[in-house]
Amino acid sequence: MTDLAHLAALAPLLALAGAFVNGLFGRNLKEPAPGIIASVAVAAGFVLSLIAFFGVAGSGEAVRVGFGDFLRAGDFTLSLGFHLDQLSVLMMLIITGVGLLIHVYSIGYMHGDPGYSRYFAQLNLFVASMLVLVMADSFVLMFIGWEGVGVCSFLLIGFWYHDLANASAGRKAFIVNRVGDVGFLLAMFLTFKVFGSLDIQTVSAMAPTMLYGSAVLTGIGLLYLLAAAGKSAQLPLHVWLPDAMAGPTPVSALIHAATMVTAGVYLIARTSAVYAVAPAALATVAWVGVLTALVAAIAAVGQTDIKRILAYSTISQVGFMIAAVGAGAYWAGIFHVLTHAFFKALLFLGAGSVIHALGGEQDVRKMGGLGRRMRVTGTTALIATLAIAGVPFLSGFFSKDSIVVATFTSGALAGAGGEVLYALLMVTAGITAFYMFRWYYLVFAGEERLERGVSEKVHESPSVMTVPLTILAIGSVLVGYLGLPSFLADNRIAAWLGHATAAGEFSHPSVATEWLLLIASVVVAFIGLGLGYWVYAVGKGALAKRLGNAPIAGASRGAFGFDILYRALFVDTGAGTAEAVTLLDREVVDRGLVGLSGVVPLIGGLLRRWQSGQVRAYAFAMLVGAACLVAAAAIVGVLK
């Protein structure tokens, strides 16, 4: 099986090939051929990922596939290759598995769009880049995938580019991501300075021999965190994700929920060996994750766009994952990546199904009662809502609980406010249950508030869209059982990922305490759901209206004003600087240095006198001048 696992190297190439076929010839193909080509490419990738999975599972050993050299300087050679271990094959399965379902769904969703083949070309290119990102054996190759997914994200957010608002949303995502990318670049420069290598396995093997807690290691950890914050939309770089909802909804599901935004979690899990010797950086990771989770959850409560609510929810949920890796519970972070990939992709695709049925309406205040008219969409969305809310026996419950408990028992956070982080995450979990109930109730339950003329058109989506919804719903229920609390049963996913990441330190409280923590999680989830029921189902939202003028409600609607702040701080000053530079160039550098210095005007004057209206004279004069200089020097040489 190990030999067969090498075949997995073909997975990104197949997706790339699909992108090329659709990109070059797609316009000559009839619908749904481009969608089928793209889906087949991803399906093949899924099969190859399964083969790699069983190969790694069978031998327990990582598989390396090398391609050739890329960069070199002296003793330093950087070759490109894939490193397939427990962590990367799991990510490959998520990317190609969920990716395949979303490709199939898109065949229905993008029906009739003039950019049909362009859409599938870009979606395939994304899958290829994302696979490279998780399969890479070096930071440089990972960065190639990292920027590649950023490029695809830019293209797909601005997919309907005729509307400048969509194009600008793509632009914003790309630029904010580039801030994170600079963090990634500087992290690599510093890694090379400290370790002399950019190979991830080499660096991981050397890290334990480094000076524990030294400033450079902390620096490396913080720079990779900056990179992760950009790609995973964490504070303070989270502002691009809500705008990214301008893209087609399946794109939001695949890129901005299930896969790309979890790349930061993957990066930190992948470099866990470095973080293991940089405790201050690790604690910062946890704090960034928890604060992001809280802030975004509060913001989600105040949104009225069906997709923007989910966008803030995604930022918040990725915050949970970042908090997990920050606590040293790398497996819990990746576990939540897995469960979240199912239920959040399902929520987005459900939202897409609704938008599709309502002919483009996205305002939840103009929805309601749709669960009765769209049975499959409504039921699957309910399952996903309960899963993300943390209702027991569904996937989100297990993964979220493992994160919350990890912040409580983490040795890494023991001196860094672990208890505070635990409390904040519990509050956030409650808010999550509340805003998700609100989302579900306003869209699918209660009375219909549809605009006139829309109601007659409401219909359940075709089966090419509902079948993926059903499969994702089944996953949203079941995948959680891979990671049952270890005091109850074997935790398969923790054992699996333990081979590929550093081991975090955790205290082991008594079984009674474990039960208590578990029950607390359940209680919080039901409090959140209950409050939601009370406010929106019983009170018909009257309380929400009455509280609408409170400062916290305004902050929630405006998502704490980050956009306004950044506009003032960076966008306006950046534009001002750019104008200042062009002005400075015209007025000062040109005139100042050419005009004011003594020598240059002299030469300029001489030349001007020589000027006979022919530009050739300039060139001639220069040659004569140069010749005179050479001659003078030659005479000096002879005399000497």
Partner: protein, 503 residues
């Protein structure tokens, strides 16, 4: 003889093109055949035998050229981009296309000479001679304000060159070198006193900094690009008039390592400023060609950071970047020419939404823009990455500041794409025609080739970079002026004084 032919073939072709200017078809065929032949020769350069012939024996000058080392990569980039530039020149220049093509070919010969020269006087002669076709292209075929732009370019170049020439002549006299040959000079010039080296280096640096170009000596570049022929063909080769970095790399630093180490902190700071200044200039530009000139200036700043960081990785990266940027920058100037051909304007406000009517142009434009802003997998990334990483090892702060240009590049890159190609499609234009496809084909090939196949080319550059680091290590060993840890090991002296060519 390969290196000599790489210079002679384009020169002879230029002469033939001028002679045949009255029979359009034959002239076109000859011009393209010459360019293709030069490309073949350029591909054959690695491993070719160096050439040397006596020229002015009394003055210690011999005509020595060697196509190995960085030259093999740089000359290849020139020869590759010559083909689309010629195609455009022969079809889109209305009056005097033959003259235009001949000047392009002459410039190609001059650039090849600069990169391959192994004698300092030969280097200087090519350095100055290459100015002439550039000036004539601007002066004869340029836009309305071509006279001002030409004067400005000339004044900057000549002033800088004057100081450079003085340094060159003093170099041999003061050091007592046997000849102007690079090996003869390198054996003795590092033994000059630190003060002497510093003064001589400053003289060389004045000439080279103008042509890097480095802030605040850069403003000729923006006007040159703005006023050059709108087809962009002249700018393709123009994007390699920025040969200053090569001068520092091949001559300035290895000949005067102690002086270079003294001045490098100032130069690397200026280069970092250049990287950011150029990027902001691009963000603030509304004229497409000025925009590209500023973006390219930002790249030159990063190249400068790579050079003055004086680390092997940075030197490799800077030279690789210099070659690779020619493809993406030249490609964008050609795309700009195609846009001008459709709308007769370089004002970005006159564009918008044309991806709808010209999807192929938009796709290739986007690819080239992404290459231009250093997206990995495309041409500019390997060099940019190595320049900054190498410099970071010796000078973390200037390198980190220059790295911020990556964010600004994201801003100007997507701004450009959005302004031209996205938005409501009020502007309708023709998509790429067959000729334009052929023009952009070498650009696409080059963008991917330089983006992916970097290791073998970096290895060839490294043979020459190691000469430079070796010279710096000699200084460090003698304790004259330690430039800090040079890090990566270099083989012993005797083995490294060749660039790997056949003996």
């Amino acid at each position: 003889m390969t290196p000599v032919f790489t210079i002679l073939v384009p020169l002879v072709t230029a002469a033939l093109v001028l002679l045949l200017r009255n029979s359009t078809l034959l002239m076109r065929v000859v011009a393209l055949a010459g360019a293709v032949a030069t490309l073949v020769l350029a591909v054959l350069l690695p491993g070719s035998r160096p050439f040397s012939a006596e020229w002015l024996p009394g003055f210690g000058v011999s005509f020595s050229v060697d196509g190995n080392g960085a030259a093999s990569v740089l000359v290849f980039a020139v020869a590759l981009m010559m083909i689309p530039a010629l195609l455009v020149a022969l079809t889109r220049v209305e009056k005097g296309a033959a003259g235009f093509a001949a000047l392009l070919l002459a410039a190609e010969a001059g650039l090849a000479g600069i990169f391959m020269a192994r004698d300092l006087i030969v280097f200087y002669v090519f350095w100055e001679a290459t100015l002439v076709p550039g000036l004539l292209l601007l002066g004869l075929y340029g836009g309305e304000k071509r006279r001002e732009a030409t004067t400005k370019y000339l004044v900057y170049a000549v002033t800088g060159s004057f100081f450079m020439l003085v340094s060159i002549l003093a170099l041999k006299t003061l050091s007592g070198a046997a000849s102007f040959d690079v090996i003869d000079l390198m054996l003795v010039t590092p033994d000059l006193s630190v003060a002497t080296q510093t003064w001589l280096f400053v003289g060389l640096a004045l000439g080279m900094a103008v042509k890097l170009p480095i802030w605040p000596l850069h403003s000729w570049l923006v006007d040159l690009n703005e006023q050059n022929h709108p087809s962009g063909a002249a700018d393709v080769l123009g994007s390699l008039y920025k040969v200053g970095a090569f001068g520092f790399f091949a001559w300035g630093i290895p000949l005067l390592p102690a002086g270079a180490s003294r001045v490098a902190p100032i130069l690397i700071a200026l280069a970092a400023v250049t990287a950011l200044y150029g990027a902001f200039g691009a963000i603030g530009s509304k004229h497409l060609k000025r925009f590209l000139a500023y973006g390219s200036l930002s790249h030159m700043g990063i190249i400068g950071v790579g050079i003055f960081g004086m680390h092997l990785a940075g030197l490799n990266g800077a030279m690789y970047f210099l070659a690779a940027q020619m493809v993406s920058t030249g490609g964008l100037f050609l795309v700009g020419g195609m846009l001008y051909h459709r709308r007769r304007s370089f004002d970005l406000a006159d564009y918008g939404g044309i991806a709808k009517s010209a999807p192929a142009l938009a796709a290739l434009g986007l690819l080239t823009i992404f290459a231009f802003i250093g997206v990995p997998g495309l041409s500019n990334f390997p060099g940019e990455f190595m320049s900054l990483m190498g410099a970071f090892q010796n000078a973390p702060w200037p390198a980190a500041i220059a790295t911020l240009a990556v964010i600004a590049a994201g801003v100007y890159g997507v701004n450009l794409y959005q302004r031209v190609f996205q938005g409501p499609s009020d502007v309708r234009v023709k998509d790429l025609d067959g000729l334009e496809m052929y023009v952009l084909l070498p650009v696409v090939v080059g963008v991917l080739w330089f983006g992916v196949m970097s290791a073998p080319q970096m290895q060839r550059i490294e043979a020459q970079s190691q000469l430079t680091t070796l010279q710096l290590e000699r200084v460090a060993a003698s304790g004259a002026s330690a430039p800090g840890a040079l890090g990566l090991s270099a083989p012993p002296m005797g083995e490294t004084l060749t660039l790997g060519g056949a003996k």
